[in-house]
Symmetry: C2
Subunit: 325 residues, 2 copies
């Protein structure tokens, strides 16, 4: 299974490596090349290829929209990093740090256009439908990012609000990636919809896992520093649940840490983690994550295709929840 | 002719007024509504409708891509204003001033997606070709903006460099707007190309006029303050020509004004205008403008369509050069 996955991955990376860039200006296209060469797990384009093969068409039919999705995903990361003033992405300095903010804005803009250029190579009979699915998803991602920014300055955010936000910002892209693959393979409408829901729920579980690992992960395995969200007061599922489940004394303690301007980072991380432990936030988050994951698997099961064709999707979903891919 | 033009304009404005916006989040879509409600001359969508009717199809067939082009044009203005830190656009505060920079980035991003959403409504048989024309133009506009930013920090810029830059940043959009209309009306390839060149040369003439009017315009008629480019040391055709045509003494004087950190604005404007007058930069710019305009008209004449069908395009071009539309 892993060999097969690596084969698909190689095809995606090869396509990305052969994207046509205009000869000039370098100042515009170099940051795009940089962004796309930072790697990443390429999960989204993998899903498009798998969504296509699930319904019996060769994945080569879906390689153009798969590439478009990966370019678009990287564009959102680039602009999000500008908005969040993030300094690192995949362990490397972000575009606005290497170049400058204007370059990051403009190179992001041209990446969005490059994504649509790739998308236009979708086989003709499916072009219009694929375009519509893609643009709907793309607008939803912007909506998710907007909510994410608004939540940072909002005192009352419920876990429902949060799930709504990560659904838009993260999960719909996985659903859409799969559904575009299914569409190109002429999947029945109902199955394409189930596959979308599989991706969406998997995306939610995946993001919750991300929140969880920021607190309870092993930094050697997780690949980024533990506690980053805590230090940034990021309104993750963990923090929101803690604020909602705490008694008045504990909530005050949480808020004191959130409002503190100067503190010892290690101290803040361990204080907040201690509160999470007391409130059982780890279990609450794991339960939510497992619920979404189970829902994802249920949708996949319902798809009217022999079970052995679904093996690769089961495998990828499992790897994602284990976070080794 | 003016009645007919106003009818077309009303149709465009009506379509823009009826664009579908998702119900939420307001924080994302309100700046888009604001941007599109600032008005403007809607020249680009007009060109698309005219390009379509020139070859005998009803303009309603081209209204979707016409709208897409206007949304895209306004998106570029929005992001350019962020990059240039401009405070006013069409006499109103810019989005990043009314809201903030992150909102301006994100609302611009979603406008680009909205443009592609409109574009997807292009009649099916033309969709792929229209998409390709549009994306090529869109990337070129980003390239033009990149050159524009690079030129600001470059000492040696030739007038050829400058023409190349405004071709990308301004002119290709006019050419593309027309060619998309022509494509939808099944124009012969050669005529579509001539129409593109008409738009491109008209766009160059139009931008040169803009540079000229910043110095020699009547602020009551021109609608913006005279001398803005001079105060900002903007490398326009005027300034580049002056630097290239001046003798050493005059060039030093120009450079002294450019490098001065504190000065009386009126004094700087009149000193530089005096240099332009001495060097005959007004005539040089007018000649360049007229050459481009003549080229535009030549391309239009060559198109294999009865002359009376072209009347509206001749009329609009003339109005643009008079700058009353």
């Amino acid at each position: 299974m892993e060999t097969k996955l690596n084969q698909y991955l190689a095809e995606i990376n090869d396509t990305i490596a052969h994207i046509h860039y205009p000869a000039a200006p370098d100042g515009l296209y170099e940051p795009v090349r940089y962004t796309l060469s930072l790697g990443g797990k390429r999960i989204r384009p993998l899903l498009t290829l798998m969504g296509c093969e699930l319904f019996g068409k060769h994945r080569s039919e879906a390689i153009a929209p798969a590439t478009a999705i990966e370019i678009f995903h990287n564009f959102t990361l680039l602009h999000d990093d500008v908005m969040d003033k993030a300094e690192l992405r995949r362990g490397k300095p972000t575009v606005h740090c290497v170049w400058n903010e204007n370059t990051a804005i403009l190179s992001g803009d041209v990446m969005q256009i490059m994504a649509y250029k790739e998308l236009s190579k979708t086989p003709q009979p499916y072009l219009k439908e694929v375009l519509n699915l893609f643009s709907k998803m793309a607008a939803e991602i912007c909506e998710g990012q907007q909510y994410d920014m608004e939540f940072e300055n909002k005192t009352e955010v419920s876990t429902n609000d949060y799930i709504m936000m990560i659904r838009l910002k993260t999960a719909v892209l996985l659903g859409c990636a799969l559904k575009i693959g299914a569409t190109i393979a002429d999947a029945p409408q109902q199955d394409a919809e189930l596959l979308y829901r599989f991706g969406e729920d998997l995306g939610l579980a995946f993001q919750l896992k991300d929140d969880y690992l920021d607190v309870y992960g092993d930094s050697r395995v997780f690949g980024k520093k533990i506690g980053g969200d805590i230090l940034n007061n990021k309104k993750t599922f963990m923090l929101i649940s803690a604020l909602n489940n705490a008694d008045d004394t504990t909530r005050s303690e949480l808020n004191r840490w959130i409002e503190k301007k100067s503190f010892n980072p290690e101290e803040k991380i361990s204080a907040i983690t201690r509160i999470y432990n007391q409130l059982g936030i780890d279990r609450i988050c794991e339960n939510e994550m497992e619920k979404r994951y189970r829902n994802a698997l249920k949708s996949l099961q319902k798809i009217q295709v022999e079970e052995d064709r679904k093996e690769m999707l089961y495998y990828l979903a499992e790897q994602m929840m284990k976070r080794t891919v």
